[in-house]
């Protein structure tokens, strides 16, 4: 038991030294893939929104393959789930409202 307790600091150190390069790789990808949209990308965003709306109006969204529809649904769900992440941050509690 005492030996196991004495091992804990070295375990933490190895875990940290293992995780650090992986975290650096994660940050390199995140800086590109999770970056907030830039101001010069606004026209692209507008074009994307109008494309979405026009595909809804014309009914083109019914003409997708099942694979495309599945992927689009998953991407939409991922985007939507950011709202709930934000809600948890806003209410400063994970489950329910801490009143």
């Amino acid at each position: 038991m005492a030996g196991a307790v004495a091992k804990i600091p070295s375990l933490i150190n190895t875990a940290l030294s293992e995780a650090r390069p992986k975290f650096a790789i994660f940050m390199k990808y995140a800086k590109v893939e999770l970056a907030p949209p830039k101001l010069n990308e606004i026209p692209q965003i507008k074009a994307g929104i109008s494309k979405l709306l026009s595909s809804f109006k014309s009914g083109a969204w019914k003409q997708q393959t099942v694979k495309q529809a599945t992927l689009n649904t998953l991407v939409g769900a991922e985007v939507l789930f950011w709202f709930y992440v934000g809600e948890c941050i806003g209410k400063r509690h994970i489950v329910g409202y801490n009143v």
Partner: protein, 83 residues
């Protein structure tokens, strides 16, 4: 690239990134607003509960006193019968 083991990063569409960030900020604002609203509501309920507790405690105290008196009376009667 040796530093990027999974190939070059994907160019995520600006619409998706815009959606993520706007939903995230909307969620933060929504969560903060409702936290504020619900905690205000709950403090009001707590105040009312505290007022009611005083009344309830007094009522229970009186009831207990009455019950104890009745019990003592019963006991006395029982003892008197035996004698």
């Amino acid at each position: 690239m040796s530093e990027l083991p999974f190939g070059p990063p994907v160019r995520v569409s600006p619409l998706i990134r815009f959606g993520r960030w706007s939903f995230l900020t909307a969620g933060i604002l929504y969560g903060a607003f409702h936290q504020n609203r619900l905690s205000k509501k709950e403090t009001k309920i707590r105040e009312i509960e505290a007022k009611e507790k005083v009344i309830r405690d007094e009522k229970i105290k009186k009831e207990k006193a009455i019950a104890a008196a009745a019990e003592m009376k019963n006991l006395e009667e029982m003892i008197n019968k035996k004698n």
